[in-house]
């Protein structure tokens, strides 16, 4: 079967790849491009570990076909730090011990990033709602919620 060309912007860089038709974005990112920050958990749309931001919206890369992302702007956790300095969300996840095994962390961070992009000072309920599609089997969620609230406070302090 002929390969299909796909072009998109990944974490600010123009990216082009030839994929088999029907290949998921998750497979393309991890196995073709080498960005392993999105994780393949359930491949069913249930766990949220593969969450990425496509054109400003949170999406599940395991259920998104790469061809449908042609021309899109895609963000993953691996593109968040700048010049070796962690993104406030990454920093907050470390500081509040919101990561244990770490498998869910990239998806959690992308879900939280979309929230903070649109709602810089979210309530606890808004954080819980924003993370409701992401499963963590280690932390019991509380440290993750605190991390997002901490990052929001950090952002607002930096903006002040």
């Amino acid at each position: 079967m002929a390969k299909v060309p796909v072009q998109f912007t990944l974490n600010g860089s123009e990216t082009a790849e030839f994929v088999d038709s029907g290949t998921t974005l998750l497979h393309t990112l991890r196995d073709k491009i080498g960005d392993t920050s999105p994780k393949g958990g359930c491949h069913q749309g249930t766990c949220g570990a593969c969450s990425v931001i496509i054109d400003g919206e949170l999406r599940l890369s395991c259920l998104t076909l790469a061809e449908t992302c042609d021309g899109a702007v895609i963000s993953t956790t691996s593109g968040l730090s700048e010049n070796g300095i962690l993104h406030p969300l990454q920093r907050a996840f470390l500081d509040t011990f919101a990561t244990q095994c770490g498998f869910c962390t990239p998806g959690m961070i992308m879900a939280a990033k979309v929230l903070l992009d649109h709602t810089p000072n979210p309530s606890r309920d808004e954080v819980v709602e924003a993370l409701s599609g992401n499963i963590c089997r280690c932390t019991g969620y509380e440290p993750i919620i605190q991390a997002v609230l901490t990052a929001a406070r950090s952002n607002s302090q930096n903006a002040a």
Binding site: G22, S51, L60, T64, A111, D125, S132, G133
Partner: protein
Amino acid sequence: MALALQTFATVKDANAALKAQGSRYLGGGTLVVRAANEGDVSVSGLIRSTEPSLSAIVVAGGKVRIGASVTMAAIGGHPELGMLAKAARAVGGPAIRNMATIGGNLFAPAPYGDFAVALLALDATVSTEESETPIETFLANRDGSRAIVTSVGFTLPPQGGFRFLKVSRVKPKGISVLSIAAVLQQAPDGTISSAWIALGCMADRPMRARAAEKALLGRKLTEDGVAAALAAAGEGTAPITDPIASAWYRAEVLPVHLGRLLLA
């Protein structure tokens, strides 16, 4: 084996391509890509259409027409569809709602398809290129449906006339134990003059609670007034059993939750 995806500018061309054996229509991907990932070998090709009308929401004169590719997030955030926001937001987490479409929800097997429960209570019609079908008929025949759904239409109920409840064990949300939607009209004296009640998870697809609807007519929304409807709520149901709940459990709790919805 890779799945070949074919994209067409028009629904007409996509419909023609969908005639090929093993081809499935790709909406948001939350059903069909999930099936493929799970190893469903009956899916060998994917078809989609980018026709703009599939993504349009039109609200005019109290009538609503929603293109089949419109997502749950778009419905949940639409300023004129506020009464449906709760039902749209009951579907999955944020990422799923950015992907899952109203057209796909019509095909979601129980325990999924909460929004289709709302559409059934609204007595929606489902349109394809060649026909317009009452949603109840469409749901009954959906397993054999091959024509691409283009839009769903319904009349907006009066303010406060639409009620929706999704019951889940996981907070803030999880997969349905059951879902209930109701469109009720009351006479000036408070008695129910019209009732449409739809249930999710009480069969393999959304169904009407006709006995409960009938028992509500002429009654008021009081504990005594709804008692007969609650007693009749389970009539004709065949609840699913899955890891979320047994059929027995669903049957037991249905009257409790219907009561809460009616008396809220």
